[in-house]
Symmetry: C2
Subunit: 299 residues, 2 copies
């Protein structure tokens, strides 16, 4: 039941109302894999430069996150710098240096081609498709995307969606992809294009999940303070896929629980910069928030 993630491993410089950090560990594959590692074995397909700090590789290894697919290339690691608005709802990008990520051609090592749970983090849909081509018989494929690909690589994205079980988008992306402003109509249209389910992430407003014959709505886990929202969506996906990789069956019921575990992992992630909080918590902390989540939503 191994989990495979393709995405970015990056060095982030971040400023939020709570403070700032320079060149800390970031990237979609990083957040995803650390969240998923609480539940199962995860392997990363990504690329970093020769300047990537060795202690971060050690960090992955200590969490039993497989790095055989993490290529170390000549050049520098992907870097992003962003400043968040006071309400944390928007990130203003100061710079994006793709560096070695610019020529990223994901190669799935032979021993990982039997991976059953695949997460295609937000990269060029042609690369996402290429990864799927390399894996043999995935049991569950989840995929993230963004406004840029919806606008500029629509055809590639549509081709991919036919092979995706769960598509993750935020509100605005779902509206953009579907051309529908009503989120129910938007979701229905997306599900008609291939994915079995679409999970719509709404940040502090929670998550909606639509499939052909089910609908699920969950609020966000309540937090008294948010330090840094970077990586929340990928952490969510890591919690969800991690839980699903341990579930007996992939069905409406386990997807709902997966969404709650995803929300909980994201709620931890945003409580500190980078992946710091995720490295501090235990399975007990996760179980505690799961039980609390039940209590605060019961009626």
């Amino acid at each position: 039941m191994d989990i495979l993630v393709v995405g970015s491993v990056a060095l982030d410089s971040i400023q939020t109302p709570s403070g700032k950090r320079e060149e800390v560990l970031g990237g979609s594959a990083t957040y995803f894999s650390i969240a998923a590692s609480f539940f199962n074995k995860v392997d990363i397909i990504a690329t970093v430069g020769e300047d990537f700090p060795k202690n971060y590789i050690t960090l992955f290894k200590n969490r039993k996150i497989g790095t055989s697919g993490l290529e170390i290339c000549k050049g520098k690691t992907f870097r992003w710098k962003g400043v968040y608005s006071d309400d944390l709802n928007t990130a203003h990008t100061i710079y994006t240096h793709l560096n070695v990520f610019k020529d990223f051609k994901p190669e799935v090592p032979r021993n990982l081609r039997n991976s059953e749970f695949i997460f295609l983090a937000n990269i060029d849909p042609d690369l996402q498709y290429d990864v799927l081509r390399q894996v043999k018989k995935p049991r569950l494929v989840a995929c993230d995307s963004m406004n840029y690909w919806i606008e500029h690589k629509r055809d590639a994205l549509e081709r991919l969606l036919d092979k995706v079980d769960i598509l993750l988008l935020n509100d605005a992306e779902a509206r953009q992809f579907s051309g529908e402003s009503n989120i129910m109509k938007a979701a229905k249209l997306i599900v008609s294009r291939g994915p079995k389910a679409v999970v719509i992430k709404r940040g502090e407003h929670g998550v909606l999940c639509f499939s052909k014959d089910s609908y699920f709505a969950a609020p966000a886990y309540p937090l008294g303070s948010v330090f840094d929202p970077t990586g929340a969506g990928d952490t969510f996906a890591g919690g969800m896929m991690g839980f699903l990789s341990r579930a007996k069956k992939i069905n409406d019921s386990s997807i709902r629980k997966g969404i709650i575990y995803g929300s909980i992992m994201a709620s931890f992630a945003v409580e500190d910069f980078s992946v710091n909080k995720l490295l501090e918590i235990s399975l007990n902390d996760i179980a505690g928030r799961f039980n609390h989540f039940k209590r605060i939503t019961r009626f």
Copy 2:
């Protein structure tokens, strides 16, 4: 267990992306009382002008909504005209003609002073206070307010809050009242100022409820189309108070159910202009959505 509402009865002219209506029945006390009338006997304290259509009075009477406190004054009825944005999130006011509402001094008729469930719809907090002074021993007082009173009549609002059990606000009002941008912190501060609970209405994002020792989060009931959001908040309050007036106990559990019934009543209200949809539905329709709400939130 009678319910009493003080607020406005108005003639609304409304334009939304779905169409427009001229001088249709509106006002906070109208939406509240029609929603609450599915659960219990309601009485209105409000004022209208001599031009108020008789068939609207008949409409109230047919639903056993008491109109002994609905004063018909010399002059014209309160009128509001608004145009909604394409996403229905903001209403641009074309005009507000207070007319007879300008000199509204709520008088609670003697036979209604024993009312146990009081809803103070959004009017001047001094008038809301005055109504409370006239009722003898209310079992539950809920209160709505708005940015204008928070800014201009802060002291009057604070004096009132001491006598309020449930305060209803939207996100922005909760942040404005508390000066806190984090909604959890905002809610905690509000609850420390008097009300036993604060219910934060977030429109399509659902409802949060905070009290000293409990927290509840509910998504909104999913709708494929929204015709007219006018009155959604007051309809919500009507459903909530209606349900609570029938509950054996007022406690965390019944307030949660009340919030769900409120959300359901609001979900009907926005599916047509004015109160049209509320006049069409049955208790069966409400029970159907309640069961559906359970199914779509269970995990």
